[in-house]
Symmetry: C2
Amino acid sequence: MKVVALAGGVGGAKLTDGLAELLSPSDLSIIVNTGDDFEYCGLSISPDLDTVCYTLAGLANPVTGWGQRDETWTVYDFVKNLGGPDWFRLGDKDLATHLYRTDQLAQGKPLSAVTQSLCNVWGVKHRVFPMSDDPVRTIVHTADQGSLSFQTYFVKKACQPVVESFEFKGVEQAKPVPDALAAIDKADIIILTPSNPWVSIDPILSVPGYRSALKKKVVIAISPLVAGQSLKGPAAKMYREIGIEPSASAVAFHYKDLLSGFVFDNQDCEEFEKIQQWHIITLLTNIIMSDEQDRIRFAEEILKFSEKVLIRSH
Amino acid sequence: MKVVALAGGVGGAKLTDGLAELLSPSDLSIIVNTGDDFEYCGLSISPDLDTVCYTLAGLANPVTGWGQRDETWTVYDFVKNLGGPDWFRLGDKDLATHLYRTDQLAQGKPLSAVTQSLCNVWGVKHRVFPMSDDPVRTIVHTADQGSLSFQTYFVKKACQPVVESFEFKGVEQAKPVPDALAAIDKADIIILTPSNPWVSIDPILSVPGYRSALKKKVVIAISPLVAGQSLKGPAAKMYREIGIEPSASAVAFHYKDLLSGFVFDNQDCEEFEKIQQWHIITLLTNIIMSDEQDRIRFAEEILKFSEKVLIRSH
């Protein structure tokens, strides 16, 4: 079975890591949100790409959910001493990634090629694609603090401002990465991983070309919410502020046009009937991935469910 | 006596360090070449400004002539491991300076204000000005390797290409830093420090406004050549390749239109008459600054000589 996973940060990274344990590099490709990308101290930073790649490479920091394990903070501490910006923490190893990426982009290499080079060094065999080689920037329009770049909202303001709407600046002009689109065309199943629907998966779906490619495919999604709460990040808060009760069914509704299958947590079993009314095949299970073994257990369930959805869809 | 020193890298930094020991902050300002500035991995790097500031702050690496003392190389080594650029060595402390500067420039702060902020943190009390807040980039046109940015010629190519001519890109549009120009107007004496005439002092003199301001002032220069050799760097090689025999008199001739006084080494005493014919007052002494004490000894001689030139010029 050939799988393409769409992923944002932590949740998406954990599931793709589990899938990568079970599927060969030719059977799994990952398309990653770059709406979170930003420029900081002149450096081109791609937080979701790095989280996915670090996780697949076994380099991820298991505590923070971002950055590398066994990190040091020499440069960060000196920048802080100079009175420089310190709201985005840059470890020394992580900084090397950003310096390398910035240099390669400045030389005209597309982000997808830079990502491939990094994966080669890190021994990541599965293909990891940025959603686009063109810059797309997620803007969070807030009720109380104006329009914020995503990282300003997410890190600097710690998700405190009240969200009104999202904008993916540049997305109309952005082209999908050709190899990513080709991977979708060849895929048996597309998995929308349990990343934030608003700011991780929606940016990918908004790049012209992906949504229409996905409409020809069997697509399943996994809820990032359990009992109305985000497992990590501001997804539930965003739903509430936009005026939607955060719930597994709200996530399924969000993706409704695309979905053949939907996976959500046992704790949300009372939403089963609501979701089924949209003719979506469902899997109720434990969707919390608390350790490496759990990622593989969950990925196995997802793949078995995918087979079932595939059979029922044809 | 109010002094303004024009400086490039190492030679200029050493002499200004000596002068700073003898003159109060209100009596010494330094205008530094920024033609060497460049962008590397997205970072805005100002090598001469850093060398002068690190030297005045007591942070300079005494062995290399660039970068900071007690430096570590964590990030540099990781970038190299990723296959990134390694021809310009960036220590961790040095990198923090560049990240800070790049961030501040991106926020719209002029380079002169960024330099002032860094000096404040480092405890540098004397005013250090970049020659301009506008970008000027020294291009080295070579006979064998085309046109090279200065750092490509100087560091990446280790000064090996054969020089044909220099260009200071952007200099026609560049404005002098107003406070630097004001310092010149208030100065009793201007010192062209023993930095490279072609690529350290000439870029400063080429910014519209400085040369005409200097023409109203008493200017002295110090030869960066001893016995036809550079004390450091490619000055002598440049003179030869341009077709001029490198010598103290060649340096004096280079600055002839501006000079009231010229300081050169005892080893070049046979050039005395040649320089005097241009009606330049001369000082023959030991111009090699081998340690901190020597910088002060030499700065004292320069200041005494300056007084003599001032009296004779009025």
